[in-house]
Symmetry: C3
Subunit: 348 residues, 3 copies
């Protein structure tokens, strides 16, 4: 994860729900506070919104973004409809992209496109956004694209899709395990879906090679029950998010403010990680000032690659602080945070 593409949390919120206030979850996402504010808020016009409410979902986004997006700390990328194997969905997706870019393009950071197929289909989706961008008079490339990786052909073309991402508006790949398992004909015989370890490993590798973000799939066992008491499944979700962090998946899908609150924390550098990174960077800066030739810190040479890793940890903290200062203030001791914000980050 590079700091410029901070996406610890990818929170979907249905853009319309069957209530008096159909934009309830959209607005609560846009006005969330503290650790409940996601890095990416994804107003969901696709699977999270009932079929009869799609039009109202788009209306809700058009209506509420101008009011709330300017004060929202994260980025906003609606998920539109799309399907590599169904032209009707692609047509609807193009209309949704067009209307949103035209009417609230200034308040959008991009679009999330689900159920893409092979590279050609991904190119088509990117083309639809480019066209909408032009028609809306927006600057070229200002709208990002994320795709949901949830079909067999997209998994088959993962390497080519990531090569395309390295050089296009495609900036994140998000795993969609439910549709993926259905498309492969997998059956939850014992109630458990496979984790698809091979896919996750390849996703982490190819997105790293392309310099784009990788996001894990949703965790839908939000609540547990034991002896008649229902409680939030904090342990189950944290286990999944920690596993994702371990294998280099940059961010996690959230379905609930509590999940956002956990994943925002887990994907932040921990105090010990930040302390080590700052120590290395500060010692490097000191050695540079003293004109020592090779810069060795604690017996380890700090070369450009090593420096970049430590600097990246500090820059991630800065990126979080810039957009979510209440999170950094709450998470780090004041002196440590101050050092992170003030240290010089320049290799040469």
């Amino acid at each position: 994860m590079t700091a410029t593409r901070l996406c610890r949390t990818f929170q979907t919120a249905p853009a319309a729900v069957p209530r008096d206030d159909s934009a309830k979850f959209l607005v609560s996402g846009l006005t969330s506070e503290g650790f409940q504010t996601p890095d990416w808020l994804v107003p969901d016009i696709e699977d999270g919104t009932a079929p009869s409410m799609k039009a109202e979902a788009v209306d809700n986004v058009v209506e509420h973004l101008p009011e709330h997006a300017p004060d929202f700390a994260g980025r906003v990328l609606p998920r539109v409809e799309w399907a590599y194997d169904d032209a009707t969905f692609r047509e609807r997706g193009r209309e949704q992209i067009d209307r949103l870019a035209t009417e609230v393009g200034d308040h959008l950071d991009g679009f999330v496109v689900p159920k893409v197929g092979r590279l050609d289909d991904v190119r088509d989706a990117a083309g639809a956004i480019a066209e909408a961008e032009r028609d809306a008079g927006l600057a070229d490339g200002v709208l990002d694209m994320a795709i949901i990786l949830e079909t067999a052909p997209a998994r088959s073309d993962l390497r080519e899709i990531c090569a395309f991402a390295a050089d296009s508006r495609l900036s994140a790949l998000v795993f969609g395990p439910v549709d993926y398992t259905a498309e492969l004909g997998g059956r939850a015989l014992d109630g458990e879906r496979p984790r698809w370890d091979g896919l996750l490993e390849a996703l982490s590798n190819e997105t790293s090679a392309a310099g784009v973000a990788a996001i894990g799939g949703p965790f839908d066992q939000l609540f547990c029950e034991r002896a008649g008491v229902t409680y939030y499944n904090a342990a189950g979700y944290a286990d999944q998010v920690e596993h994702e962090a371990t294998i280099g998946i940059d961010g996690s899908w959230s379905l609930h403010p509590k999940q956002t609150s956990q994943a925002n924390r887990i994907h932040m550098p921990r105090t010990d990680e930040l302390t080590e990174a700052l120590g290395k960077v500060e010692a490097f800066n000191e050695a540079k000032r003293e004109g020592t030739g090779a810069v060795v810190v604690d017996g380890q040479m700090v070369d450009e690659a090593t420096y970049k890793n430590f600097a990246n940890t500090v820059e991630t903290v800065r990126a979080v602080d810039e957009t979510h200062p209440t999170q950094t203030a709450q998470y780090y001791e004041a002196g440590l945070l101050e050092r992170a914000l003030s240290v010089e980050l320049r290799f040469n």
Copy 2:
């Protein structure tokens, strides 16, 4: 798995064994009944038949197919000899394919080709079948091909081989773990072969993207012993087959009628799966009759993709019923089966 390529069970039967009746297992496979009838019977002229009996194995297939194949409910695809790295085997394989196509081509559904290598070798095998088909005066493309995925070059070319399959007579890929492990130099130091999870996941994905069938490898620990009593290892085989079903492998390899009997059941839609699918399809049909615009069933929009999934479950039951009515009659409650056989399956 599409219903047209029903392959819950891929049962190999040695085409000649060293007994007075050398065709014993071939004939018992061809005359099996009930749940012991496999979807594919594979008379094995390759590794299952002793080297000295290859000619007799081909003779047995030529002799017994005309009598038993017409009444056999499944498909018949003999496994011939082949090896990407040994021209002698390929020459023998071509002769076996030629002779069988010429003499009993009308009773065959295709051939299983083992130890293929890179895409070029797979094309060669397909070409050998095309040539035999022509020479035998059979209709173009009437003979299918399945390959055993059991060499490093074939695994390396898996994606390209499946792209070829999407547009050729190649209609199934079957995993061959014993030869595969040997070719990679794997050693069973603790008596256990690796499961090769990465290969199985890729096999499920690429065959799904190509629309062809994926079949798991054989399970050879047929029997267990405990305290002096030997018994059929029903649990071990069912565990493997259920794992295959979980990750979207369409069918399982069987070495024994009892294994066939288990895998036929595990790869059938369960009663709860069929009940759900029928409920959705029937409600969709009802809504369509009433002229409701968007068709929503239980709050879920039934789009073409969703409909296809449910319809596919029903079609699988119909395909089983068409070829193995004793299996469906035994497995499903009569009313449920009747609904599956009579419901209208048409999206538009």
Copy 3:
């Protein structure tokens, strides 16, 4: 593993350490005895040598190879500096390769190049060795190349890199899990790195398809502590090496003579494996002498592929015996070894 590229053990030894005798570990590696002699000794000029000692590390290799290499049973391939994303490292690597090829080229078997990227970068590294070889007046292709697989782009191009290996001086791929995990952004949240099973499986497959060697990553938990006593972690390392052998990884990375001693044994055919291979080969030879047509041993036809597997086991023992006779003498009963050394190994 083919016998001609015997690499059970890939032992790195820092080429210069901050001691009075800075070549201590280099020389002890070159003068190791018995099972502590690795098949490949890798004088480490890269990460194993402190930045301030790189020049001294190259000097040490130049100084000590002429004295010790002629009597060293294994092969010697120094690890030089390199990085696909940093031209400074590549420049230093070229200088190290040039100087070593020119001054001690006759005592070298090749070079180990770390942190390579996509295929183009691997070609560049091979080109640097080719150029140095020419400039040093060495025979074309006499110097092998091994690469460390430890970056996202190299993993992405693994298949293409192995295809290149099949036809070039690239003869081994070695896994580098520490840098690989860092590059993917993986975090050791619970102190454990992922094992990267998908990568290892692909590495075993692609190197097998290309006919080159695959080597596992280092195991750095050399010692354990319990109740105040520190002891060598023999079990942890053996577990990793056995897992590697199980999935067809040909050899293991060693950081210590004790690790070399274990991995040399684990990657040798066991007595039961050698006994079986010899039995098959001898029975085959007997049958051939008697002029039996098809050669069947214990009911199994010994075809060329089967014969090659058994012959390869015997040839591995011969290769070990040729270079490390004290190891074979200690490991095998004398009669068995004598049979392995004297049996005729010729299929036709």
